[in-house]
Subunit: 363 residues, 2 copies
C-alpha cells in the first residue's frame, strides 16, 4: 500500500476555543488509496491521545507500522482499495503538525509551554480547513477510537453537512471524574520532574523523561483490561538476566518500565499535558444538553464500546446512543467483548471488522 | 474511651521471610477496653497499607481520630465495652514501630533504604510475639481490611490455635497483576524523585515529597469508586480562590493535590516502597494451593467484599471462601454494596456493623 505523507501549511490561521489564535499552522497528514472522481469515497481518521498521522502501512523511514493498520488497508475493514483514507496529526502534538516543539514564527523560538491550549473542537475546526484544502465537500466516513472517537462525534455536531457517517469507538461524550483524576496524576508526575523547568525544558536542552515515563506507565495500565493483564503476566517473576532495573520483581513491572522508557524517548511532555487536558475538557454537552447538541447531527453514527474497557466503558457509548435516539439521530450502538480493554479498538476481530465494513458500505 | 499507647521492645529479634534478621525491634501499639480475667475477650486489629496503631478514639496528642473509629468503640461493631482491642503498628512503617526511619542499633545510623524487606508473614510473626508478650493465648477475633485483611487470613493459616475467629475485609489471598502494576507506578514516582537519593534522603536532610505525593494521588483514586467520584466531584470546576496551583481546572484535581500534599508531609518514602512490596508479594498460595494452605485453618472466617471496590473486588474474597469451603473451613462470605470503593471497609453501615457484631458474638 502506498503511503502519501504531506506537510500542509495553513496561512489563514485558526481562532481557538480558548480565545487564543494560531496565526498560521502546519498539519502533517498521511493518505492511502485514491480519491474518486466525484470525491465521494473520502474517509477521515482521527487519532487517539498519543497517536499521529501514521495510521496504516509500513513507514519506510521509521520502519513503524501504522497504529490502526489492523483496520485500515487493502481489503481490510476500512478498505484502501475502495476508499481514500486521510489521517492528520493533531495540532499540539509532537509528530509534525504545529505543536509545543515547533518554532513560534512571531518569536523565532520554540513554543514550549507557551503553545496555546487546544481542544477537540479546535482539532475538528483545523481538520475542516484540511477538508477544504483537499477539495472534499463531504467525508463519506469520519472515525476514531478514544480521543479520536470524541473528534468523530464533534465532527457530526460541528459540521453536520460535511460527513455522511461517523464511527465513535471506545469513546464518550465527556471524560469521567476518574478519567480526569488519572490524567492529573500523570501531569503531576511530569510537572514535578526536576527537568521540566516549568515547561521550558527544550531551552535547557533536556526533557522530563522520568515524569513522562511514570505518566505513560500509568496510562498503559488504564488501556489494558485487568483480565488481559492477569492472563499475560499474572504474578510471574521477571528473569534476572532481563530485568531493566534491580528493583524489579515481576514481569508486569519490567513490561511497564520498558513501555514507559520507550515512550519517554519519543513523546513531548508539553504535548502530553496539552492532549490530556483536551481529553479532560471535552464535553459535547458543555453549553447545552447532549440531546440538544446532538439534535444538529445529520449523519449516521456507529458507536462501539468494548466490555473489557474500564477507561471508557461501553456505558459511555450507550449514553451517546440514548441521547441520539431522543433526537432522531440515525445511530447504531454495539457493545463488543474486546479482550484488550480500552486498546480493543485498535485490534481487528471478525465481528468488529464486519460491523465497520457493513456500516461504511451501507447506503 | 481510654487509649493506652505503648512502645514494646522485643529483645529476641525476628527472623524474616527474606532470610534477613532484625536483632531486636519495637512495636508501637494502642489498646482500648479491658482484658477480662480468662483473657478470652482479646481482639487484634491489623492495619492497612498506610494505617498505624491509632485505630480508634481521639488521640489527644495529634488530635487525630483513629482510622477505624467508625467500627471500634463503645457500643460500636467492635465493642470496646466488651472487648480488649489491640492494634499494632507494622514493622517497616513510620509511626513508631521499627522501620526505615529508625536507628539501626548495629550502625548507629538511620536504616533508610537498608531496612530489610518485610512481608505479611513477618508481620503476623511479630504480632505473635506481641501476643505472647501480652499473655494472650488465643485472640477471640483477628480482623483487618485490605492489607490488614491479608494479615488476618495469614494469622488463621500461620497460627491456627491462636485465634477463634478472623475477619477478612476488602482483601484477597494475593494481589492481582493490576494491583502490582499500580504499585509499581507509585514506586517509580518515588524512586525517580530527585530527592530520593537511592533511598538515602534522610542523610541528605530531605525527602522525595513530589514522588510521594504523586504516588498517593494515584493510590487515592484506586481507593474510591468511580461512581462515588462522579457523585462527589463530577466535572465541577475548582473556584479560583481555592486552587492549590494555577494548573488546576477541576475540583477532583484540587482534592487529589491536597490529599497528596498532606500525605507527603507525614509518610516515609522507604516505608511506602516496603509496604507496597509486602502487598504485592503476599500470596497465601505461593508454596502450595490455596486449598492446601487453608486446610490448616481451625478458626471461623468472616470474609466481606464491597461491590464498588475495584482494587480488591468482592470476587477476590469469594476466591478465599471457595478455597475454604473445599477444605471444610467454617467460613462466611458476604458481598455488601459499599459506596466508597475499596475504602468502604473503613465506613460503618447498618448491615456491615450487624454482620461484624453477630460474627464476633456468635458461639
Amino acid at each position: 500500500m502506498k503511503i502519501n505523507k504531506e506537510l500542509i501549511h495553513f496561512n489563514e490561521g485558526l481562532d481557538l476555543e480558548s480565545g487564543s489564535r494560531l496565526d498560521s499552522f502546519d498539519l502533517m497528514i498521511e493518505s492511502y488509496g485514491q480519491l474518486n472522481e466525484d470525491k465521494s469515497n473520502a474517509v477521515l481518521i482521527c487519532h487517539a491521545f498519543s497517536g499521529d498521522h501514521h495510521a496504516a502501512g509500513l513507514d519506510p523511514e521509521s520502519g513503524g507500522i501504522g497504529w490502526w493498520d489492523n483496520i485500515i488497508g487493502p481489503d481490510k475493514a476500512i478498505d484502501t482499495n475502495k476508499y481514500f483514507v486521510v489521517c492528520s496529526n493533531n495540532l499540539g502534538g509532537c509528530s509534525g503538525s504545529t505543536g509545543p516543539t515547533s518554532i513560534n514564527q512571531s518569536t523565532g523560538k520554540v513554543y514550549g509551554k507557551d503553545f496555546p491550549i487546544v481542544s477537540v473542537v479546535d482539532w475538528v475546526n483545523s481538520q475542516k480547513l484540511l477538508t477544504d484544502f483537499l477539495g472534499i465537500t463531504k467525508w463519506h466516513f469520519v472515525a476514531g477510537g478514544s480521543l479520536g472517537g470524541m473528534q468523530a462525534l464533534q465532527w457530526s455536531i460541528s459540521f453536520p453537512d460535511s460527513l455522511s457517517k461517523a464511527g465513535i469507538f471506545a469513546a464518550a461524550a465527556k471524560s469521567s471524574t476518574q478519567n480526569i483524576a488519572m490524567n492529573e496524576v500523570s501531569r503531576e508526575s511530569i510537572r514535578k520532574d526536576a527537568n521540566f523547568f516549568d515547561g521550558n525544558y527544550i531551552e535547557k536542552n533536556t526533557k522530563p523523561r522520568n515524569g513522562l515515563k511514570a505518566a505513560r506507565m500509568l496510562g498503559h495500565i488504564t488501556y489494558l483490561s485487568e483480565r488481559h493483564m492477569n492472563l499475560k503476566f499474572g504474578r510471574k517473576f521477571q528473569k534476572a538476566d532481563s530485568k531493566l532495573s534491580g528493583e524489579i520483581d515481576y514481569e508486569v513491572e519490567n513490561y511497564l518500565q520498558y513501555k514507559g522508557e520507550k515512550f519517554s524517548d519519543s513523546f513531548d511532555a508539553n504535548s502530553y499535558i496539552l492532549m490530556t487536558k483536551a481529553m479532560d475538557n471535552y464535553d459535547a454537552s458543555a453549553s447545552e444538553s447532549l440531546e440538544d447538541a446532538m439534535s444538529k447531527i445529520l449523519c449516521r453514527l456507529l458507536i462501539i464500546g468494548f466490555e473489557s474497557d474500564w477507561l471508557y466503558p461501553p456505558e459511555r457509548g450507550k449514553e451517546i446512543q440514548l441521547a441520539g435516539m431522543k433526537t432522531n439521530v440515525n445511530c447504531t450502538y454495539v457493545s463488543l467483548p474486546g479482550e484488550q480493554g480500552h486498546d480493543s479498538f485498535l485490534f481487528a476481530s471478525e465481528k468488529y471488522d464486519e460491523i465497520i465494513k457493513s456500516f461504511i458500505e451501507s447506503r
